[in-house]
């Protein structure tokens, strides 16, 4: 056991920190979940990519630095600490890319990954449907074979696609075998949102941004080159990325550590050094403790992953923990602000927006109810029925 970072890692942190200090836009960009904000965020992504900070853990040939998991965690800590912009490329980088690395052809990797990383092609996910939320296997959108054209024709609807209104491409599951049920007969497609027959309808989120979209497909053509993995094996292919969504990759501890530090700052500003109401002090302390617990649990897990273990059902525990700590942390900030918390045009407004965002945590990527079932059944071994 050695809980210090190596010299190389420390140097990596220093490089990262100084680049971010020099380049993070000030004042902060407007929300990336609006049309104008998205465009500005795309520019930021291009800058990150050009400096090889967009995807540090990827191979150099696709714009990365071949960074270790530890270096990636350090990058995320520094990125959050610097208050750098949200990553509008994250659904591509964190959800789709791992699947492409595992299941994509060399041609697909070469064609898709660099543009994804630079933000030139922004990807959104198409998991949910009106009748398939936490129960993904309820997917009804279908793809019909078009042999003549050498591809498939899509029909149906996807919902809750994050930033779908601004993205260029969508990945998701469609039913290619109408006879098969539930998990069988699904295929993983990569779809151009500019293609014919695609309609994107923005849906306004709790915080007023058009953060969601509904996407309708009416006889939309997808060439065979844009099928990911084997036809009919889409469920298995997708599970790799939902594992990522629920687990480690999207939620490096840096974000929560930075949020806890900002909460401490807020407590000091609202009440002066150490002077806050003891009950609020206690809640602020709990938030900081949660972030620490999350950090060390992550380091514990990453050590095992580095030794070659694969993440398992424990990722459900991780999702439960960060999503609930995030809500509590923001609730504490709102309590500190008291009757000023409702204001959305002050310097503190980010806390209300952050709270609204945090409320999606226990809902998306499998509700926390589903996650608790997974923990009970797959981690603890309780009977399914």
């Amino acid at each position: 056991m050695n809980l210090t970072f190596s010299e190389t890692e420390t140097a990596f942190r220093a490089e990262c920190r100084s680049w971010l200090e020099a380049n993070v836009p000030r004042p902060a960009l407007p929300s990336g979940d609006t049309a104008e904000g998205f465009a500005l965020h795309r520019e930021w992504e291009q800058l990150l990519f050009d400096s090889r900070w967009a995807v540090v853990s990827w191979p150099r040939e696709y714009g990365g630095r071949d960074a270790s998991l530890w270096e990636w965690l350090i990058f995320e800590e520094e990125y959050a600490r610097a208050g750098a912009p949200q990553r509008v490329t994250q659904n591509g980088i964190f959800l789709l890319a791992p699947t492409i690395f595992e299941f994509g052809t060399r041609e697909q990797q070469d064609r898709i990954l660099p543009k994804m990383a630079s933000g030139e092609e922004a990807w959104c996910q198409g998991w949910s449907e009106p009748n398939a939320g936490s129960d993904l296997a309820g997917i009804q959108s279908r793809a019909v074979r078009d042999d003549a054209a050498g591809g498939w024709r899509l029909q149906g609807q996807k919902t809750w696609t994050t930033r779908g209104a601004f993205c260029d491409r969508l990945f998701g599951l469609f039913r290619t075998d109408p006879e098969a049920e539930r998990h069988a007969g699904l295929t993983y497609f990569l779809v151009d949102l500019r293609a014919e027959g695609v309609t994107v309808r923005p849906v306004e989120r709790l915080d007023g941004d058009d953060g969601f979209a509904e996407v309708f497909f009416d006889d939309t053509f997808v060439p065979d080159a844009d099928v990911l993995g084997d036809v009919g094996r889409g469920w298995n292919v997708a599970m790799a990325t939902t594992g990522s969504e629920r687990g480690l990759t999207l939620r490096a501890p840096g974000r929560f550590m930075a949020a806890a530090d900002r909460l401490i700052e807020l407590a000091r500003r609202v009440a002066g050094d150490g002077g806050a109401d003891p009950l609020l002090r206690d809640r602020v302390t709990r938030a900081w403790m949660d972030a620490q617990a999350y950090r060390w649990q992550t380091f514990w897990t990453v050590t095992r992953l580095t030794a070659g273990e694969r993440p398992g059902a424990e990722s459900s525990l991780v999702k439960l923990f960060w999503s609930e700590l995030d809500v509590r942390l923001h609730e504490t900030a709102l309590a500190l602000l008291g009757p000023h918390a409702e204001l959305v045009d002050t310097e503190f407004a980010a806390w209300m927006k952050g709270y609204e965002f945090s409320l999606s945590g226990p809902i998306y990527a499998g509700t926390n109810e589903i996650q608790r079932n997974v923990v009970a059944e797959r981690v603890l071994g309780l009977p399914r029925k």
Binding site: G138, E204, R205, G338, P339, H340, A341, R372
Partner: protein, 328 residues
């Protein structure tokens, strides 16, 4: 001991409920979000007509000469529909306050103009730009200002219908209708009580709409309301509401009767109602899932009102501290 409402009181509640169902459906609340005033004039006029603004006013100025127990159920109904109007500020606080002071503006309020309030624990006057009088409440004093004599600076709320203003008191020395400490304290308790009543209505509404949604919406082939986790979330929300509601009604009685336990009772009511509404909001959103997270769906109208009201006129921690000082 008789802890129930009279038939007349229940009839007033039902009349207000019917009125609001008609005049303040969710579409009207949405309209207020984008309108110039943030208000719902049709409902306000109908409530004025019905006499609700004057429940606590003497008959001499057009009031009904009833008391806070008569009013509390009407306020609960306004919470249930998230009425975007200063009904608590006007009917529950300013009307009886100005009437006590023999301030002639009381009659204007009963007749349909509105009041806004400012207090350290409610620092933004809501709908102040359309108010006829702005009551500034201190710990042990207060005054009722004419809008012309103060400076209003707008502030934006997460609840788009709540039009907030910071109030800058002008140079007018010794403003009219100065309040005593007793009146200021009573006005504060009435504001907290009225807000608590609205929070109970909001909690009830959010639970009801979530039960409906969970009974309809299917996942894994069955209504999500048949899952034990969803059941238990909603049972917990109902539990909090069940035990908050009598505290609100009892607080109304202590206010009406000038009972010595009034402040303790009001704090119990406001803390419990705030907690119940906050829990109902969390449970409602969690059980709805993503749809509750969109503004196309109505839930957010009620949720955001709950957030705002829970934190004003003393949040639960503030009221618990006040109780603690009383009992420990």
């Amino acid at each position: 001991m008789h802890f129930a409402f009279s038939d007349e009181q229940l009839a007033l509640r039902d009349a207000v409920r019917d009125l609001l169902a008609k005049e303040c459906p969710p579409t009207a609340v949405r309209a207020a979000w984008t309108s110039g005033t943030g208000r719902c004039p049709a409902a306000w006029n109908a409530l004025t007509e019905m006499g609700v603004l004057g429940v606590l006013a003497p008959e001499a100025i057009g009031g009904l000469a009833l008391d806070d127990v008569d009013l509390v159920l009407a306020l609960e109904e306004t919470g249930r529909v998230a009425l975007p109007e200063p009904i608590v500020e006007t009917a529950a606080v300013a009307v009886p306050l100005l009437a006590t002071l023999d301030d002639e503006r009381a009659a204007d309020l009963v007749a349909g103009s509105s009041a806004a309030l400012v207090h350290a624990l409610a620092p933004h006057a809501v709908w102040a730009d359309t108010a006829a009088v702005i009551v500034v409440l201190g710990e042990a004093h207060g005054s009722a200002e004419a809008p012309a004599d103060v400076e209003l600076a707008p502030a934006e709320s997460v609840d788009g219908a709540r039009r907030l203003f910071t109030v800058g008191i002008g140079s007018v020395p010794g403003s009219p209708a100065a309040l005593t400490a007793h009146e200021a304290a009573l006005a504060f308790d009435r504001a907290a009580l009225g807000t608590a009543a609205q929070l109970v209505g909001l909690a009830d509404r959010m639970i009801t709409m979530t039960v409906e949604y969970a009974s309809e919406r299917k996942q894994f082939g069955v209504p999500i309301g048949s899952f034990q986790a969803v059941k238990h979330h909603l049972a917990d929300a109902r539990l909090a509401l069940e035990f908050a509601r009598p505290l609100v009604y009892r607080a109304a009685w202590t206010v009406a009767e000038r009972d010595p336990e009034r402040s303790l009772a009001v704090s119990l009511a406001k803390a419990s109602a705030s907690d119940a509404a906050s829990l109902a909001a969390r449970v409602a959103l969690q059980c709805h899932g993503a749809i509750g997270y969109t503004t196309e769906y109505d839930l957010h109208l009620f949720m955001k009102r709950s957030w705002a009201l829970s934190a004003t006129w003393g949040d639960p921690a503030w009221h618990r501290a006040r109780i603690g000082r009383g009992i420990l």
